[in-house]
């Protein structure tokens, strides 16, 4: 778009006319994209309360009129199938799609004309090439020969893709403002990236920034192709290869579910064939977008698994970072782990604050297969992938057994297990169950089963990942049997949940997760006590074991005793352990004498106990340094 056009749009006259005319350009009227991208002029990076970001979004997608039938940022549907020499395929995506143009301080797609996002032809060709890799003939026909640098024998072209209709996730919601109910237009295109693993695991106490990004919300995309000889091109074959190609995901962030599940309009989603599939039902406090819109986001599964892998590795080694980065990705390499959440039902209750969700779906997990021309190396890669898959499946069980997924996962759903509290206040926690089709996935029915499961997983971690020096991290939630104790009992209802709301316990940082800090109040010019939200050092879970019974599990981390001090009542670890014992909780695993645990020394890695392991997990490989 030319300068003058851009300025006309925002009502600034172009200076093209005569050099002599003196125009007043008010810098405050310059569109956001044309400003210096620094705070004070235009800062798009941060997802918090960011007016610049809102203004920028408005300049991008606000329709001119409320009932504009064809807003500028939306494209009409063109003729599908063969149209002259162009062949078009329309694909719907069930979740979001992300692509990054590499410009700006914010992840955003390439903008085509009128700000309509555009997916480059080279990205589509890359997908196509991947799908053809086992068929050299098709590869030469459609993509050309990479080795001999000859173009496609068919004169085949990839023209990229663009969304049609609304991709900005626009919807009208009724909100209460100043006591009145009004209709407000909201957009869900402003997405959030909120990295918090350092904080969750206790590696650092920093408060993480939430970054904004732009992703296309449940878009319908049109992909365009052409060939030099359209009449003699097998378009049906092209379509089949293409549908196969997009199963692996389109665009970026596919490991967390972006760009997955694309399908033709009249057909269901193609589900990727991943080796681990488990059907879950879950409910709890919903994640929200910047605008407080609730949205159940599949990337929370990856975040949960990453957090637990961090904890488990931290308990047996100080060198877990490479393994974590290899599996989950880092700024230099993409994730080997692939996750696809196939949502079959979702409901939000937005009347309550915070909004809650209840969902059902199937979680599909895979580890990318690494390829090598060397046969020996290939065998090593495949063996490593096998043990990675087994390990990740156990980590998934661990996440499901010990807590839950997503926001507020350390607590049980109060809606189910502490109704009196929710009727007066608000929902806390979450509750996850296996769908009836997958009940056999987990065979934990008793305290003994639980003990064997935790012991088995710990042994796998220690045998496969622990380093010679047998030292581990001192993080708050490092999974080391010296620093953590697990208790459990079999029950029909929660006996423990009320303890978390006990006047003294809830104000003990390790239990209630709140710390009182001194903050300087500028208005009064005095220091005041302020509550700061942190993380509890206790996990609580009600694991369903059939017959309306639950294993009530409480996991206590006690390596940092300072967090167990109540401001007036002193150390609360003993009173808390006494209180859960009085409720029938029995020791299961970990440190049997947490009260004698001193946090000064670095915990060592205990020698293996002689428990019979239920899981045949002979480690195949020692971890390797990351591949350069």
């Amino acid at each position: 778009m030319s300068f003058s056009k851009a300025f006309e749009r925002v009502g600034i006259q172009s200076s093209k006319s005569k050099a002599s005319t003196k125009l007043e350009i008010n810098p405050e009227e310059v569109p956001m994209m044309y400003r210096a991208q620094v705070s004070g002029r235009c800062s798009l990076q941060f997802a918090g309360n960011n007016q610049d970001l809102e203004d920028w979004r408005k300049e991008w997608v606000d329709p001119k009129l409320d009932n504009d039938p064809q807003p500028r940022y939306q494209r009409k549907e063109p003729k599908l199938g063969l149209d002259g020499s162009i062949y078009r395929i329309k694909i719907e995506f069930p979740f979001r799609l992300s692509s990054n143009c590499g410009q700006d301080s914010i992840l955003r797609p390439i903008m085509g004309k009128n700000g309509i996002p555009y997916l480059s032809g080279s990205s589509v060709k890359g997908l196509f090439r991947r799908a053809c890799k086992d068929s050299p003939n098709k590869l030469r026909l459609y993509c050309g020969d990479d080795d001999n640098l000859t173009p496609s024998t068919l004169g085949f072209r990839f023209h990229g893709a663009y969304p049609i209709g609304d991709w900005s996730g626009m919807r009208k919601v009724r909100v209460r403002k100043r006591g009145e109910m009004i209709m407000e237009t909201r957009y869900r295109m402003l997405d959030v990236i909120h990295p918090q693993q350092l904080r969750q695991v206790g590696e650092k106490d920093s408060s993480p920034n939430a970054f904004a990004m732009v992703s296309l919300f449940q878009p319908t995309m049109v992909f365009e192709f052409s060939s030099a000889d359209p009449k003699n091109t097998n378009w049906q074959e092209v379509e089949n290869i293409f549908l196969q190609a997009i199963q692996l995901g389109v665009g970026g962030k596919t490991s967390t579910g972006y760009g997955l599940g694309g399908h033709l309009v009249d057909r269901p989603s193609e589900i990727p064939k991943y080796p681990i599939t488990v059907a879950f039902k879950g409910r709890g406090v919903s994640p929200t977008l910047r605008s407080d819109e609730p949205e159940f986001r599949p990337n929370l599964f990856k975040a949960t698994l990453r957090g637990h892998v961090k904890r488990l590795l931290a308990g047996v080694t100080q060198a877990g970072k490479d393994i974590e980065d290899r599996l989950f990705g880092s700024s230099s390499d993409p994730s080997q782990l692939q996750i696809f959440w196939q949502e079959t039902a979702i409901k939000y209750d937005e009347i309550k604050k915070p909004a809650t969700f209840s969902t059902e779906g199937i979680l599909h997990i895979d580890i990318k297969r690494q390829e090598s021309d060397d046969i020996k190396k290939q065998l090593e890669f495949d063996a490593q992938r096998e043990s990675d898959l087994r390990f990740i499946e156990q980590v998934l069980m661990f996440a499901f057994v010990m807590g839950g997924f997503g926001k507020s996962w350390r607590r049980v759903s109060h809606e189910i297990f502490y109704k009196d509290y929710v009727s007066k206040k608000f929902e806390i926690g979450c509750h996850w169950e296996l769908a009836s089709t997958d009940l056999k996935w987990l065979a934990i029915k008793s305290i003994d089963d639980l003990k064997q499961f935790i012991e088995g997983l710990y042994t796998v971690c220690r045998d496969r990942f622990s380093s010679q020096s047998s030292s581990c991290q001192t993080w708050r939630e490092a999974w080391n049997p010296n620093c953590v104790t697990v208790y459990a009992s079999i029950t029909r209802e929660s006996n423990v949940v009320r303890l978390f709301h006990d006047e003294i316990f809830k104000k003990t940082p390790a239990i209630g997760g709140r710390t009182i800090v001194k903050k300087f109040n500028r208005k009064t010019q005095e220091e005041e006590d302020k509550e700061q939200l942190g993380f509890s050092n206790v996990w609580h879970r009600m694991l369903p074991i059939g017959n309306n019974q639950y294993l009530e599990i409480v996991t206590v981390f006690h390596s940092d005793r300072s967090k167990w001090k109540h401001r007036d009542e002193g150390d609360q670890l003993k009173p808390f352990l006494d209180a859960i014992a009085a409720k029938g909780m029995k020791y299961v695993w970990g440190n049997q004498n947490p009260l004698q645990n001193s946090s000064k020394s670095l915990p060592s890695i205990p020698t293996p106990s002689k428990t019979q392991l239920p899981l045949s997990n002979k480690p195949i490989l020692k971890p390797k340094p990351p591949i350069q």
């Binding site: 300068f3 200076s15 093209k16 050099a19 003196k22 125009l23 007043e24 350009i25 008010n26 810098p27 310059v30 994209m33 044309y34 400003r35 210096a36 991208q37 620094v38 705070s39 004070g40 002029r41 235009c42 590499g102 410009q103 301080s105 230099s332 350069q628």
Partner: protein, 157 residues
């Protein structure tokens, strides 16, 4: 190359190519800094204010790599200022004295840039044209002098 003697009438290339070459050589040893040449060429499309703001955006970041990128952008702005000075065009903040946390000064510079486009549109257009040409040269030299990081996959030689 033509001489820089202003007496020569006719086309005058401002030695853009030499300036670009010197800049690329200066910054080629820092990791990933030269990638910015391509981004500079793209940023030109948004006009002078946004181009000028980029070095401030990088300078406020903590990472050494970002700071180095910021220096590269700043150097380009300074060179542009010097080149334009030869033809009596004053580029706002030509000596890049404004700091990223000085909101008032940032506002003043933005105003000065837009004032330039309104009151002396020819100067503004010349500045933008020269900058575009300079960025083209930067890209050209980057393609020849950039050190490849071994870990970068899928890049053309």
């Amino acid at each position: 190359m033509t001489t820089t003697n202003k007496q020569d009438a006719g086309w005058y290339p401002y030695n853009l190519d030499h300036h670009a070459q010197a800049l690329v050589i200066k910054h080629r040893d820092e990791k990933d800094v030269l990638i910015e040449s391509h981004k500079m060429r793209m940023a030109v499309a948004y006009g002078l204010e946004r181009f000028w703001g980029e070095h401030l955006r990088f300078e406020r970041e903590k990472k050494e790599e970002s700071k180095n990128k910021g220096k590269y952008w700043r150097d380009v702005w300074q060179i542009l200022g010097k080149i334009l000075e030869e033809s009596d065009i004053t580029l706002p903040d030509a000596d890049t004295k404004v700091k990223f946390d000085d909101t008032t000064k940032i506002g003043e510079t933005s105003s000065a840039i837009w004032k330039m486009s309104a009151e002396t549109p020819d100067d503004y257009r010349i500045a933008l044209t020269v900058l575009t040409q300079l960025c083209d040269s930067l890209v050209w030299w980057t393609q020849r002098y950039r050190k490849k990081d071994k870990k970068v996959k899928g890049e053309e030689d």
